[in-house]
Structures are given as C-alpha cells and as structure tokens.
C-alpha cells in the first residue's frame, strides 16, 4: 500500500517575521502571515495596529527592517514584476469620477501592463466577476455607493491578480450592497483568487473569512479559522443579548453590572454577557430584570461572534 501525499497549496503570499519601525517607533514586531489560492483571510485590528504598514510591505512599498515578504516567492519591493500578481482595492473609491466604469477598467488594465488587444476582454471579465456589466457605461460619480465599491474591486482585478487586497471594502455601504459585495468576494475566491480582507467589520469577516488574524500593536495576537478560534476561546458559552426598552438610570446600570452584563457597542440599549447556561440563564435573567424595573424589549441567545473574541483579545491585552 502506497501513502497518498498530502498536497499543500503553494502560498501566494508569505510574510515571515516582518519588523518595521518609523524612526524609533516600532509598528510591526515580527508579523507572520501566509495566504494560499482560493482563501479569504481577514486581517482585523484597531486603528494603529499596523495594518496599513503591513499592506504597504506586502505591496512592496516599504522594505521591512527585518523579515521577508514574498509574492509567489519574489520580494515585491525588489522585483517590480512580482507585483503583477497583486491587486489592491484601497479604502477610498480609487477611480476617476468623470470616467465610466468600463473606461476606468480599461485605463487600469493598460496601466497594469495589459497589452491593448487584451484590454477589452479583461474589462469584460472584471465587469462580469463584479456584477457591474449593467453599469459599465455609467460614470463613476453617478453610481450608488455599492456599485462604486464593486467598480473599485473590478479595477483591482482587471489584470487578473492571484492576490487581492481589499482595504475596508464595506465602508459607507448599506446592507444590500454589502451582501452584493460579499457575493463578489466569494465569487473571486471560488475562481482561486486569494483575498486579504482588511476590515473593521467583524460581522463581514466572520461571514466571509476562512481565516482571521488579530493584529494589535504590531503583533499577530491570534490567528486561525473563526469558528475554531471562537470555540477555543469560549467553549460552550453562549452570548446572551438583552435589549432594554429604555436607557437605564445609574441604579439600573449597577443592577445590570451585577448581573454581569456589559454594554454592547453596536446598538443603543443593548447589553450582553457570556453564559454557559445560555437559554435557561436568559429566562432567569428576564425575570430578575423585570423585577428590578428594567424591562427587556428582547432577550436573545446566540453563539459568540468575532466581536466577542475581539473584545476578549483586547481585554487580555489590557490585563497583560
């Protein structure tokens, strides 16, 4: 009997032990990161964590003080051709407003080095993948926010990169537009594009990412598959969410704190806690709160999310 070899896909991106400082201020302190084809990796972290600097080193715009960055085995800072496999969709709508979507794509295709004859096909492909065919001839400035975001991605993939970096792709878009964007990103993954998603949107990261990494103070604090990370961090605990009818007074806040509830940052009047005894705990909590005059509009129980994990990482960091 012969053993079947396990095929590990060759990484498109390898970041190994990258260190970078601006003057005497360290920004990246030994970051490791790999991305393989057809994988979505969500890079999470608060402002100032070092995400932008990490992207710049991946794009070859910064040479790390220590460590290496390789795109398909080549250093993007030293070998410009290595950057051919990279597409960047910046946080801003990085397009020419007076030009139509198709004209923008044609321009960026040419600027990415695609020969003139191949440009129309490349544009058509990018329009199809980002589902913007019906807006191809509309000037960017006349598009809705969601379509602008999709066109922004289209310009990043028009030269068929193997690695797509999406920097905050859902800023300023509504729920429908976000779902459409998610579908575009999944479609790109399905054809083998590796996606590095840099976002504050933990919900989107949880829904899309195959792996997530928490960057904080220039270090990768946590990395792995979202469900595995959550399971490892919270075990069987469930998140109990209490939405109150009204904002509690000082006494009410003390009472909520005594119940182990903390204010959720997402919505007003929303309080949350983790409990191993999920649904039963929710029932007991409801009675006690009503008795104390704190009337819940709704109490929900759900699996902990990346938000909880993010908070936990932050708390651990603070405690440390």
């Amino acid at each position: 009997m012969t053993a079947t070899p396990i095929l590990t896909p060759t990484p498109i991106l390898t970041v190994a032990g990258v260190v970078h400082a601006y003057g005497d201020k360290p920004v990246l302190r030994g970051v490791d990161l790999t991305l393989t084809p057809g994988e979505i990796y969500a890079l999470l972290g608060p402002n100032g964590a070092g995400k932008t600097t990490l992207i710049k080193t991946i794009c070859g715009r910064l040479r790390p003080d220590a460590g290496t960055v390789a795109l398909k085995g080549q250093d993007p800072a030293r070998v410009p051709a290595a950057r051919a496999c990279l597409g960047l969709a910046p946080q801003e709508i990085a397009l020419y407003g007076h030009l139509t979507v198709a004209e923008n794509l044609a321009a960026f295709a040419s600027l990415a080095g695609i020969a003139a004859k191949a440009v129309p096909a490349a544009v058509e492909r990018a329009l199809t993948l980002t589902r913007t065919v019906d807006r191809a001839h509309v000037p960017i400035r006349h598009l809705s926010g969601g379509y602008q975001r999709r066109a922004n991605i289209a310009a990043a993939i028009v030269h068929q990169p193997s690695l797509l970096i999406l920097d905050e792709p859902t800023v300023g878009v509504d729920v429908d537009a976000r779902e459409a964007l998610d579908a575009v990103v999944r479609g790109l993954r399905d054809i083998g594009v590796a996606v590095l998603l840099v976002t504050h949107d933990l919900e989107q990261a949880g829904a899309l990412a195959d792996r997530v990494g928490f960057l904080r103070d220039g270090r990768m604090m946590l990395e792995g598959e979202p469900r595995a990370l959550i399971a490892e961090a919270f075990g069987v605990q469930m998140e109990v969410l209490v939405e109150l009818l009204a904002e509690p007074d000082a006494a009410g806040e003390l009472r909520l704190a005594a119940e182990g509830l903390v204010r959720a940052t997402r919505r007003a009047h929303l309080w949350t806690r983790l409990d191993v005894d999920g649904y039963a705990a929710a029932g007991r909590l409801d009675k006690r709160l009503r008795k104390a005059g704190l009337i819940p509009r709704e109490i929900r129980v759900r699996q902990p999310s990346l938000q909880n994990l993010f908070t936990l990482v932050a708390e651990r960091k603070q405690a440390a």
């Binding site: 715009r61 410009p80 801003e92 709508i93 004209e103 600027l111 080095g113």
Partner: protein, 402 residues
C-alpha cells in the same frame, strides 16, 4: 511598447476627464482667447492714438476766444469733452474726483492774455490722462483760435525782440484776423512726418506681446490645474493602487506631461488663431519658428506645473503654491503689465521667469521678423525648465512609494 500604452492610457484618462468637465473645458480653451482679446484691445489702444480721455470743462473767462475753444473741444473727435454746469472749479474737481471725467480743464482767462489762462485738474490715478488732455487742448486751441495762439507766441518772444512798432502791431492784428477768419489746415505747421513700421496694423507689437503673455499665463494655469490631478490621485487612493502595481507612477506622470503639452499646444492655437483672424498678426507666415516656440512653451508649462505640484504634500498646499507662483511669475514676467513699463531692475528679474522668454520669443518672431538666432535661447531656456520640472516630478514620485 507596453510603456507607451500605459502613457497613452493616462493621456486618454486626462482627456476624458477634461472633456466631461465642461467648466474646466471652458476655462482651458475659451477663456484664454477671450482674455487675450481683452488685453490686446486695452493695451493696443493704450499705445496708440486711440485713447480719448474724458474732459470736464468749465469756462470761467467767458470770452469770445474761450467760447470758440470750448465749442471746438466739444466738437472734437479726439477727446470727449463736456461743459460742466455750473461752470465752476469746484464742479470740475467734483467730476474728476468722482471718476466721471479723466481730467478737468478750467478756462480761467482769455488765451491771448498773459500768464497761464488754463488750469488742468489731474487725477494721479489716471496720470496719463492729464498730459494727453493738455496736448489735445493745445491742438484744439491752434485750430479753433489760431489768432490767440499767434498773439501768445508774439508775447513769448517779445522779451527777446523788444516792443513791437505800430506797424508791426497793425500787421499782427491783420494776421490774427486772417487766421481767425480762415484757420489753417489741421496738419499745417506740424514738425513731423510719420512712418509706420512693417506695414502692420496698429498695435501689432502689443498684440504679439499679449498673445505670448496670455498663452504662458494660461498654459501654466491650466497645466497646474491638470497637475493637481496628482493630488487627487493621492487622496482618492488611485496613487496607492498604481504604486502597488508593476508600473508605479512613472507612466502616469509621463502621460500627464504628454497630455498637458498637448493641452498647451491647443491653447496656443486658439489664442494665435484669434490674433491672426482678429488682428491680422501673421502667425501662419511664421509657422516655422512659431511651432517650436509653442512646443517649448507647452513643455515648460507642463513640466513646471508637475514639478511644483509634486513638491506639495496636500492639494490645498499645491493650490496655494500654484496660485502664488502663477500670479508672481505673471506679474514679474510681463503677462499683466508690459515689461517696457517696468523699472530696469524688474525687467532684469523678469528673465528668471518663463513669461519673459515666451513673450520675447513670440514678439521677436511675429513682430520683429526674428530668425532662429533670435529665438534659440528662449527655446533652450523653456525646454530645459520643463524637463527639469518633469524630472523632479518623476524623482519625487519614485521616492513617494513609501
């Protein structure tokens, strides 16, 4: 080949952006010929005999001769005279002070009388108006009251020749009455004949001057606006996108440069076509030297604009710097006021601006029929300035990868 396609892609982007921004299109291509028309109308007239100052006149003397002079002034086509009412010095002063007249004239006594019978009231803000009005009044006096002029002339030479005899006085009276009855022809007694140079239309030198002056002003202004796109590209993330790609910003800057040079050429065609059609400036006849001069001008404007914008960190900085530079260079270089009106030291400083070189080259070609030896220096200075600006922009773009 791919590099060329990248550059052309950028040229196309800029052309489409400009084409779809109608306000920018008007500013770039219609405003320059319009401003040129205004400047050339103003300054071509200012150097010729077309200025007709507005003169407020009060006849305090009320003599028969001052009556004739006033009538002649009111009828003159060379000056716009008006008799003020009431006929007082105060009324004349008020007209001049309020700007309703360029200068004032008070006829205090009969012109045949001794002393200074006339008073000119001048507005220092319109310094050229008073001497011009004075000359027009003297001309009118000679034509309308030659007898009075004759008597004043005799009075002026009397200290040298002594008192007139009775016969001489009779002869003078007779001559005066003849002159009064039949004034001499307008040009009789003129000291000068006149020859106009080159057979060109009146004001041609100034028109050639202002064609160049307005071209470099607007070529630089429009190039700055176009180059500000670099700042928009930084702000919108386009620069981030391109810097993460294979080519970087190099082809973008070269593409912008090529477009801005083309834009400058079109602006030149608009301005000089206007000069040829409206004023008969012989542009087509000098095409051989006009074309390289125009190309050098466009290269200079495009390169300087890109270089200047590249040294700024923000759009606001670039906007402020470009406004400052454009206005200062235009003022010193002669785009606003003719250089020959400037003091000598400022004319020397002007050679440090592209404006002076552009103006000198175009005036040389179109007015003085200069040959290659008269313009090659300007071509060199302008092209070198543009190339230095472009090189600066390319270098800073490479450094800005970080």
């Amino acid at each position: 080949m791919i590099g060329l396609e990248m550059i052309l892609a950028m040229v196309r982007v800029m052309a489409l952006e400009l084409w779809r921004d109608r306000a920018a299109l008007v500013m770039t291509f219609l405003l320059p010929p319009l401003v040129f028309l205004i400047f050339s109308s103003v300054f071509a007239g200012a150097t010729g005999e077309d200025i007709k100052p507005k003169l407020a006149v009060a006849d305090l003397a009320q003599t028969e001769t001052t009556g004739r002079l006033l009538k002649a002034l009111l009828a003159s086509s060379e000056i716009r005279a008006e008799a003020v009412t009431p006929a007082t010095i105060a009324a004349v002063r008020a007209r001049v002070k309020s700007g309703q007249a360029d200068a004032g004239l008070v006829l205090r006594a009969d012109p045949a009388a001794a002393g200074r019978p006339f008073l000119i009231i001048a507005d220092p803000g319109r310094a050229v108006a008073a001497p011009l009005a004075q000359a027009r009044v003297q001309q009118a006096l000679v034509r309308a009251a030659p007898d009075a002029a004759l008597r004043r002339s005799v009075d002026q030479i009397r200290p040298a020749i002594g008192d007139l005899t009775a016969d001489q006085v009779d002869n003078l009276d007779m001559a005066a009455s003849i002159l009064r009855a039949k004034p001499p022809e307008a040009t009789a007694g003129d000291l000068f004949d006149r020859e106009d140079l080159l057979g060109a239309r009146k004001g041609g030198a100034v028109i050639a001057y202002y064609a160049g002056a307005v071209l470099i002003l607007f070529a630089l202004f429009s190039a700055m606006q176009g180059a500000l796109g670099l700042m928009d590209e930084r702000r919108s993330g386009v620069a981030d996108r391109l810097l993460s790609g294979v080519a970087g910003m190099g082809p973008v800057i070269t593409g912008k440069f090529v477009f801005l040079v083309g834009q400058g050429l079109v602006q030149a065609v608009m301005i000089f076509a206007t000069a040829q059609i409206v004023y008969g400036v012989a542009v087509v006849g000098h095409l051989g030297l006009w074309l390289p001069t125009t190309l050098a001008t466009a290269i200079c404007a495009a390169g300087l604009a890109l270089g200047l914008v590249s040294i700024c960190r923000t759009r606001e900085q670039a906007q402020m710097l470009s406004t400052f530079v454009i206005l200062i260079l235009a003022a010193i270089g002669g785009s606003m006021v003719p250089r020959f009106l400037m003091p000598a030291w400022l004319q020397t400083v002007g050679w440090f601006t592209p404006h002076a070189w552009v103006i000198d080259a175009y005036q040389g070609i179109l007015w003085r029929d200069a040959t290659l030896s008269g313009v090659y220096k300007a071509w060199g200075v302008l092209t070198a300035s543009g190339v230095v600006g472009l090189a600066l922009a390319q270098t800073l773009a490479r450094l800005s990868r970080r």
